[in-house]
Every structure is written in structure tokens, then in C-alpha cells.
């Protein structure tokens, strides 16, 4: 073991080493030689997972800016799960589409390093650095199919708007620094608790700019416009990663900043987040209804899910007990959503071919007959996204709504449940296609690769486990909250 001040960065180092190993392996790989590069990534991720488990409850801290608290570790574990599932889904896809394997896996792993850093950072500047690390990797991944016009366009759009939002974020940091003379969250928090008055325009500017920056990253309305285009243009495996890993990491940092450093300003930001949450839930579901491209549909669904998370954030601003429930609800929701969404995008990725993405709704017609196992597993994922028992998605939503009702936000909870009914409509459209529509075209879809099916089966088992016996993981989530806020 190294000196204790390194403890908290061990998970990151594991993943980063794996990324470097991947790059080295790529350098030694013959032109068409097959090499299980993804396996290196899985080794690194498992190492990070083990490190996170060992660090549990130790409250380690590195360099004063990275905290190995349970909150960060919980998110780290979520990211590790997302990463491993993604490696499994990627293997066959990378081979099929002829993506540059070394770059693909290395960028993915570097992005995960950025995500873990973002979830564990306790300094605004480090959060920003993490944000850039993960964003640059993900921009590149979005456009990794250089022959694809849509992919290039998506990457460019994503990059421009991402850079734009980074500027907002940085501006927010500047104001916070200007007020408190520090970028460390605890110092900023102390300043806001002691000396900020609600009518101080600089304080309001700092809060507002940071809010906009985060809202971009988690694609909350009205900063969501980039999402559908970027999600649609990127390869499906990358989209699955963007919609879960990036979102989980960004939301973790969002929650950490707003519930610790900016918590004293919560009477100011709560009404705004309330509005954003309501708009995000409504726009995400209502616009999702009319989509005919599956990736676009799931893009809007992921916007709606960001809305439910924001609902949790609003409730987390409430008094002690309910606030605790809301915070652990956010963590639990992130876990359920991440597993489900990665799996759903994995299905889309597996059904694509090199020539065609096969991600239009009509491509799924008759899937229940041609790919019965795949369709059944996809159905479970969709039902979980819709929040129907006994799946993980239901428990996640229930947990969030419990917190919202407990905090007295009945209106927001009602908007939440009603939009989830609307979302049922578009998730079931996919099910209708798979099971109740005959396949008209002759173009048969390729059978799903075994590795992907295994990953999918693991996800579905996890979905049922979290849906039927959630108590233990819920306790874990609750325990991660006590340590930081």
C-alpha cells in the first residue's frame, strides 16, 4: 500500500493503467491480429471496483481535492459496472464495424477515469478538469466512425455545445472563487454559509452559471437540444455510455456541489431546479412519444430520467430526514437507470450491422419471433425504464417519489408519475413492434453475439434483483450519504 494520501485515487489509477496498457497493446498488435484488448479494460475496471470496495467507510482523501468517501465510491462502483457492461457489449461491435480497437478502448477507459474523478473531486477546478477529461474522450468516441456523416456531425455538435457549457461552468467557478478566494468545496461552502446574502448578485451569478453548466451535461431542459442529435449520430455502444456514465458522473458532481457547497443557497436554487425538473420530465416524455428512431427515443427518455433525478435533487434540499432519503434515492436511481440503459443500448448496438444501424422503430418488427431471447431481455429493460414492477426501475422511481412526497412536493411528484405513464406509451411502442407486428422486410437481422447476450442476461438479473430485493442496495446507498453532506 502506498502512503495513505494516495488511497482515494487508487480506483482511478487502476483504470488509467488499464488504458495505458490498452494503448501499448494496440502498438504491438499486428494489422489484422485479434487481441482481447477489451479484456485489459475489464481487468482494470475490476481492479477499480475492488479498490472502491476496500476503501468503503475509510473516508480517505488525496491531495485535499479527491475524496474517497462512500458517496464517491458508490458512484465509482456504478461507473465500474457501466464500464464492464460496456466492454462486454463493445467487443463484438468493434469487430463487426471495424472500429479502431485500441483507440476505442483507450478513450473509453480514459473517459471512465474522468468520470470517477468527477464523482470524487471536492474542488471546483478538479471537477472542471475531470469534466474536460471525460468530455474530450467522449467527443472523440462520438465521431469514432470517421466514415459516418451523422457521427461526425454529432461529434461536432456535441463538441461545440459541450465547450459552450464548459465556459459557463468555468465562469461559475470564477465567481465562486472571486467571492470565497478558493475553489475548494468546503471553503466555498463555508463562505456561502457565513457571509453570502441571498441578494448578493455575485453569489446568485455563481450559482446560476454552475447550474447551467451542470444542466448541459445532464441534458436538462432547456439545455437538452444537443442530446438527441448526439445520441442518434454516435454508435449505439457509445450512446449507451454517454447516456449513463456521463450522466451519472455529472449528476454526482452536480449533487455534491449543490448539496454541500451551495446548500446554503438552497432557497434560491430550489425553485429554479423545481421548474427545470418539471420541464425536463414533461419535454423528455412528450417529445419522446413522436420519435421513430430508437436511439432518439431513448435519448428523450434519458432526458426524462434526468428530470426524475432532478426531482430527487429538489427533495434533497428539504429538511434533514427527507433530504437523506432523497440523496440515497438519487444514488439508487442512478444505479438502476445506468444498468438498464446500458443494457437497452447494448441491444440496439448488437442488432446493428456495418452497413446499417438498424435503429429505426420498424427494424424491430417481429423481433420477438426472430430473436426471442433478445426481445424478451429488451422487454425487461424497457419495462424497467418505464418503471413497472417488479423491475429495478420501479423501485428507483418509487424511492424518488417517496422523497418528493415526503418533502411536500406533491405537485412535482404528480407530474413525475403522470409523465411516467406517458413514457409507458413510447416504451410499449417498441414492445408492440417486437411482439405484435409482423416483419415486412426480408432483410434479416444477424443473430446476437454470445458475449453481448451474457452481458444482457447479467443486466436483466440485476434489474430483477434490484426490483425484488432492493433492501440491501438501498441500505448501501443510504450509508453512502451519511458520510459527506
Amino acid at each position: 500500500m502506498l502512503t495513505s494520501s494516495f488511497d482515494a485515487v487508487v480506483p482511478m489509477i487502476c483504470v488509467a493503467l488499464a488504458a495505458l496498457a490498452v494503448m501499448a497493446a494496440e502498438a504491438f498488435r499486428g494489422k489484422n491480429e485479434k487481441m482481447p484488448i477489451g479484456g485489459l479494460g475489464i481487468v482494470g475496471l475490476v481492479g477499480a471496483g475492488i479498490a472502491a470496495v476496500l476503501l468503503w467507510n475509510r473516508r480517505s482523501e488525496s491531495f485535499g481535492v479527491i475524496a474517497g468517501d462512500n458517496f464517491g465510491l458508490f458512484i465509482t462502483l456504478v461507473l465500474v459496472i457501466v464500464g464492464i457492461l460496456r466492454m462486454l457489449f463493445s467487443g463484438p461491435v468493434v469487430e463487426r464495424d471495424g472500429l479502431p480497437a485500441g483507440e476505442y478502448y483507450a478513450l473509453t477507459l480514459f473517459a471512465i477515469v474522468g468520470m470517477i474523478m468527477m464523482a470524487t473531486a471536492t474542488d471546483l477546478l478538479v471537477i472542471f478538469v475531470a469534466l474536460e477529461v471525460l468530455s474530450l474522450a467522449v467527443y472523440t468516441l462520438t465521431g469514432i466512425r470517421r466514415d459516418s456523416m451523422a457521427g461526425t456531425e454529432a461529434a461536432f455538435k456535441y463538441f461545440l455545445l459541450g465547450a459552450f457549457s464548459s465556459a459557463f461552468f468555468l465562469y461559475g467557478i470564477a465567481f465562486a472563487y472571486g467571492l470565497s478566494a478558493s475553489t475548494r468545496l468546503d471553503v466555498v461552502g463555508r463562505y456561502f454559509a457565513e457571509s453570502a446574502t441571498p441578494d448578493n448578485p455575485l453569489a446568485l451569478l455563481a450559482v446560476g452559471l454552475l447550474l447551467v453548466g451542470f444542466a448541459f451535461k445532464i441534458s436538462a431542459v432547456p439545455f437538452h437540444q444537443w442530446t438527441p442529435d448526439a445520441y442518434e449520430g454516435a454508435p449505439a455502444v457509445v450512446t449507451g455510455f454517454m447516456s449513463t456514465g456521463v450522466k451519472a458522473a455529472a449528476f454526482a458532481a452536480f449533487a455534491r456541489v449543490f448539496l454541500s457547497a451551495l446548500y446554503p443557497m438552497n432557497t434560491e436554487w430550489t425553485p429554479i431546479v423545481w421548474l427545470v425538473a418539471a420541464a425536463t420530465m414533461i419535454v423528455g416524455t412528450v417529445v419522446g412519444v413522436v420519435q421513430t428512431n430508437l436511439k432518439r427515443m431513448l435519448a428523450y427518455s434519458s432526458i426524462a430520467h434526468a428530470g426524475y433525478l432532478l426531482l430527487g435533487l429538489v427533495a434533497a434540499g428539504a429538511n434533514q430526514d427527507v433530504g437523506q432519503i432523497a440523496k440515497s434515492a438519487i444514488l439508487f436511481y442512478l444505479l438502476t437507470y445506468a444498468i438498464t440503459n446500458v443494457a437497452a443500448f447494448g441491444v440496439i448496438a448488437m442488432l446493428g450491422s456495418k452497413a446499417r444501424a438498424n435503429d429505426e422503430l420498424r427494424d424491430y418488427a417481429g423481433l420477438g419471433k426472430t430473436h426471442p431471447a433478445l426481445a424478451a431481455l429488451m422487454t425487461v429493460c424497457l419495462l424497467s425504464l418505464a418503471g413497472i414492477p417488479p423491475t429495478a426501475g420501479f423501485i428507483g422511481k418509487w424511492y424518488i417519489f417517496t422523497a418528493a412526497v415526503g418533502a411536500g412536493y406533491y405537485g412535482l411528484a404528480i407530474i413525475g408519475v403522470l409523465t411516467s405513464v406517458v413514457s409507458v406509451f413510447f416504451y410499449t411502442r417498441i414492445i408492440v413492434m417486437m411482439y405484435m407486428t409482423e416483419r415486412s422486410e426480408t432483410g434479416a437481422l444477424a443473430p446476437a453475439p454470445v458475449v453481448g447476450m451474457v452481458a444482457l442476461a447479467i443486466s436483466v438479473v440485476a434489474i430483477f434483483y434490484l426490483g425484488i430485493l432492493p433492501a440491501q442496495v438501498m441500505n448501501l446507498a443510504a450509508a453512502s450519504i451519511g458520510t459527506i453532506f
Binding site: P372, L383, I388, P389, P390, F394, W398, F401, T402, V405, G406, Y410, A413, I414, V417, L418, S420, V421, V424, F425, T428, I431, V432, Y435, M436, T437, P470, A471, M474, N475, A478
Partner: protein, 514 residues
């Protein structure tokens, strides 16, 4: 022996077993059908055992099982049955094998998936009736939607997808608001006692403010009213019933609709007695409108299945009227009518399905003079028709009679209008019977129709036997429910009385209802 858990788990076990049977080419269809049948018959045997070991003199939950599930929120796996739920468990156990049997002739594609969904559906319905924990109840309540959605959507008739989605969205829209109310109750419990609880028995101890009761009752009642369905929330029902495969319709009409009325009896009224008293006249009014409206619309239907579907709107109106009367007669009648309607409407859907299997049409005008061609079916159809109308000596009479008795005590005006519903039901059912079975054979296609097959006999004999048994020995079914009904009705009145004395402010609300 954890009898209730066994009853709920057995169909799931059967479904899991079926998952393991490889049947991609449909060669093992027969085997699959027998496994499903064996599982559902075993469940029925267990429900009968439950009935035999049930103590009919007690009003408490029996066969109670309780295990911590999500301790942080006081959520327990808490199941138990009182007389009311016992009867509905029995009904579910009774109808599922019959519905499965009816599918042997009509469902030919994807038999394995069909059987799995039927078994999962059965488990969810049984779960709804035995849950004493609100969270557990909601989980089963919502989980039930998925298998039914697939049953309608895959094996239904022409407009099945529309019907399936409509069914799903309507039901969910109602139930999510109930979820918010359930969460609110758990929260109020935690404020009052310091700990969360979703346990029905604990939540019943709370004293809720009238305003809270008002909103929460509305949320619960809306969920149940859509399920029943109470006029004007009934529009999903004709679509779902008509498009569903026969087995789906039997379960839909036989059991699923009762989940709505059961919810009113078990949750909405006892949890929010003051609000219930306040809203009872409105519920009774809607029920009576539904009785007459359902009957009138049924009368003009050209499609047999649609006719039976609308007759359900009318019959379920009676059940709600009985519940709104809030007295022992009304509630006993309502519970009894739930069973009776399940048996007779289940039987009607079965027979309409048999005719439609033979002729691939359900239009009344396509038939006529079947009496000469299919005398046995005619006889059974007549008997079930009479039971549906409410002929004394058969199952339909007792329930309607008790409900009217109870409603008369509550407000005679409702009974006057509801009475016309009884007459109208005789009109539409007998007219249907006349057009389909009497007269000469007008359509040559009907001349050679085979009469009841042995398999169809097996499905219909239990229905007929039950219809007669319930008519001749009604006490067999009323007696076990009596203590539970009395307890719940007393509870509603006790809370009312207490508040009238303690808080004069709510007295007008209470009086309005009487």
C-alpha cells in the same frame, strides 16, 4: 405451511418451468398446455384447501405471513386473507384453469408464451387479493398489467394493439395517482409515529385530516373506478374485452374488474371513511348511471362480445351501488355479486368464444336458429343467461337482491333507477338469446356446426355447477364474508360517529351522505 405464499408462488414456478421447456417449433404445445393446466389446477386445489381451513367466524386476517422486505421504509411482505379476499382468491383459482382450457382450441400460436403470461397474470391477481401491505399491493396491481397487455396485444383480434395500449394507459394513469397517495399515507404515518409504514392495519389507525382524506380518497377511488370500470371511465373496457382472446376476456371480466371493487372495499372506504361518506352519493349516482347506460348500450350492440362487455359495465354498477350504500346488506351483496358476475360473465365469454371459434365472427346477425344445431350449447347458454339476468335459484339473484336491499336503506331513489337496469338486462340478454338460438337457421354456414366438444364441456360444467351452487346455497359463500364485511362497515360508521361527536365541523359532510 405458508399457504398463501404457496398459492401466489405456484403459478410463477409453473411459468419458470415453462421457460425451460424448449418449444420453438411448437412441437411440445400439448406438453406446455398440460404443465400450465397442472399448475393452475394445483393452485385451485390450494385455494379450496384455504377455504376449508378458513375460520368463517373470524373477521381478522388469517393465514397471515409477515417478513421484513424493505425495513428502512417499514415495508413488509405481509399477506393474509379475510372472508372477502378469500372469496376472490377462490374465484381466481376457479376461473384460471377454465380460461386456460378455453385457450386449448383457440390459441394456436406461441402457446408457451401464452401459458406463461396466463400463469404470471394469475399470480399477480392472487397477490393483489392477499396483500395487506399497500406497497406489496401496488406492486402486484401494476405487475398485473404486463401479462394482460401481452395477452391482448399478441393473441387478440384485429384491433388488439390499440386495445392493449389503451388498457395499459388507462389503468396506469389511474394507479400512479394512487401511488402518490400511498406514499403520502406512509409519510403521514412516519410523521405521526416516527417510522414509515405501508401496512394497511397500521395506516388504518391514523386519524387523517378531512382535507387529506378528500384528496387521497379521490386518488384511490379514481384508480379503482377506472378498473371497475365505473361510468364514465369505462371506455377502455369494450375495446379490451372485445379484442382480447377468449381466455383473456374470461379473466378480464371474471377477476380483473373485481380488483377495482375489491380496492374500494378493502382500501378506499375503510382508509378514508369521512371522504367516502362524502363521495358515496356521487359514486352511487355514477353507478346507477352506469347500470342504465351499460344496459342500454348493450342492447344495441351487433357484436355478441361487445354486448357481454357492456353488460359488465351494468353489472359492476350494481356492485359499486352496494358499496356506496355502506351497510352490511349492500356490502355482502356487493361481494357476492363480484363472485356471481365472475362466474356468469366468465361463462358467457367462454360460450361466445366457442361460437366465434366455429364461425370466426361474433356478429349476432350471422347466427340464428342454433337451437336445432347445437342443443347442448343452447341449454347451457340459456342457463347462464338466466343466471346473468338474476333469476332466483341461480347465482345472479342473491347479489342483486342484497345490493338493492342495502341501497334501499341508503336512498330508495337509486334503487328505483337501478331496478330498471334489472329489467333492461333481461331485455338485452333474452333478446340476444332469441336472435342467436331461436327461429330458423338463416345462414347456411350454421347448419353443420358441431355441438359442444368434450373439452368445452369440461370448461362449462364447473361454471354451470357453480352457478347453481351459488344460487341454491348462497350461505356457503356469504357466511365467510359476513364477519369481515360487518367489521369494515362498522369501522366506517364508528369513525364517522366519533368525528360527528368530536368535531362538529365535519358533521355536515357525514350527514349529507345519509
Amino acid at each position: 405451511m405458508p399457504l398463501l405464499s404457496l398459492i401466489v408462488a405456484l403459478p410463477v414456478a409453473g411459468a419458470l418451468l415453462l421457460l425451460l421447456v424448449g418449444n420453438a417449433d411448437g412441437r411440445r404445445d400439448g406438453f406446455v398446455r398440460w404443465i400450465a393446466m397442472a399448475a393452475s389446477l394445483a393452485v385451485f386445489a390450494l385455494t379450496v384447501l384455504l377455504w376449508a381451513r378458513f375460520d368463517p367466524s373470524s373477521a381478522d386476517y388469517q393465514f397471515v405471513e409477515r417478513h421484513a422486505w424493505i425495513p428502512a421504509f417499514g415495508i413488509d411482505y405481509h399477506v393474509g386473507v379475510d372472508g372477502i379476499s378469500l372469496m376472490l382468491v377462490l374465484l381466481t383459482g376457479f376461473l384460471t384453469p377454465i380460461a386456460l382450457l378455453s385457450s386449448w382450441g383457440s390459441v394456436a400460436k406461441q402457446v408457451k408464451a401464452f401459458s406463461i403470461f396466463m400463469l404470471v397474470l394469475e399470480a399477480a391477481m392472487l397477490g393483489v387479493f392477499v396483500s395487506v401491505d399497500l406497497f406489496l399491493f401496488y406492486v402486484f396491481w401494476d405487475a398485473m398489467l404486463i401479462p394482460m397487455y401481452f395477452l391482448i396485444g399478441i393473441w387478440g383480434y384485429d384491433r388488439r394493439i390499440y386495445a392493449a395500449i389503451k388498457f395499459m394507459l388507462y389503468t396506469m394513469a389511474g394507479s400512479v395517482l394512487m401511488l402518490v397517495a400511498i406514499l403520502g399515507l406512509a409519510w403521514i404515518h412516519s410523521e405521526a409515529t416516527g417510522s414509515y409504514s405501508f401496512d394497511l392495519e397500521k395506516i388504518q389507525m391514523l386519524t387523517l385530516a378531512p382535507r387529506t382524506q378528500f384528496w387521497f380518497f379521490l386518488a384511490f377511488a379514481l384508480a379503482f373506478a377506472i378498473k371497475v370500470p365505473l361510468f364514465p371511465f369505462h371506455t377502455w373496457l369494450p375495446d379490451a374485452h372485445v379484442q382480447a382472446p377468449t381466455a383473456g376476456s374470461v379473466i378480464l371480466a371474471g377477476v380483473l374488474l373485481k380488483m377495482g371493487t375489491y380496492g374500494l372495499v378493502r382500501f378506499a372506504f375503510p382508509l378514508f371513511p369521512e371522504a367516502a361518506t362524502y363521495f358515496a352519493p356521487l359514486l352511487a349516482l355514477l353507478a346507477v348511471v352506469g347500470i342504465v347506460y351499460g344496459a342500454l348500450v348493450a342492447m344495441v350492440q351487433p357484436d355478441m362480445k361487445k354486448l357481454v362487455a357492456y353488460s359488465s359495465v351494468s353489472h359492476l354498477g350494481f356492485v359499486v351501488l352496494g358499496i356506496a350504500a355502506m351497510n352490511v346488506n349492500g356490502w355482502s351483496g356487493a361481494v357476492y355479486q363480484m363472485l356471481a358476475h365472475g362466474v356468469s360473465t366468465g361463462g358467457l365469454f367462454l360460450m361466445v368464444g366457442m361460437l366465434s371459434d366455429r364461425r370466426h365472427t361474433r356478429l349476432i346477425s350471422e347466427f340464428g336458429g342454433l337451437k336445432g344445431v347445437m342443443p347442448r350449447l343452447t341449454a347451457v347458454f340459456l342457463l347462464i343467461t338466466l343466471s346473468s339476468i338474476g333469476l332466483p335459484g341461480l347465482n345472479g339473484f342473491i347479489g342483486e337482491f342484497l345490493i338493492m336491499l342495502g341501497a334501499f336503506r341508503y336512498d330508495p331513489r337509486f334503487v328505483v333507477v337501478a331496478g330498471t337496469g334489472v329489467i333492461l338486462s333481461a331485455v338485452y340478454m333474452l333478446w340476444l338469446f332469441q336472435r342467436v338460438f331461436y327461429g330458423p337457421v338463416t345462414n347456411p354456414k350454421n347448419e353443420k356446426l358441431p355441438d359442444l366438444l368434450p373439452r368445452e364441456w369440461c370448461a362449462l360444467v364447473p361454471i354451470v355447477a357453480m352457478a347453481i351452487l351459488m344460487g341454491v346455497l348462497p350461505n356457503l359463500f356469504i357466511r365467510p364474508t359476513a364477519p369481515a364485511v360487518t367489521k369494515l362497515v362498522d369501522r366506517i360508521h364508528a369513525v364517522q360517529g366519533m368525528h360527528v361527536e368530536a368535531k362538529p365541523a365535519v358533521a355536515p359532510i357525514a350527514r349529507q351522505g345519509n
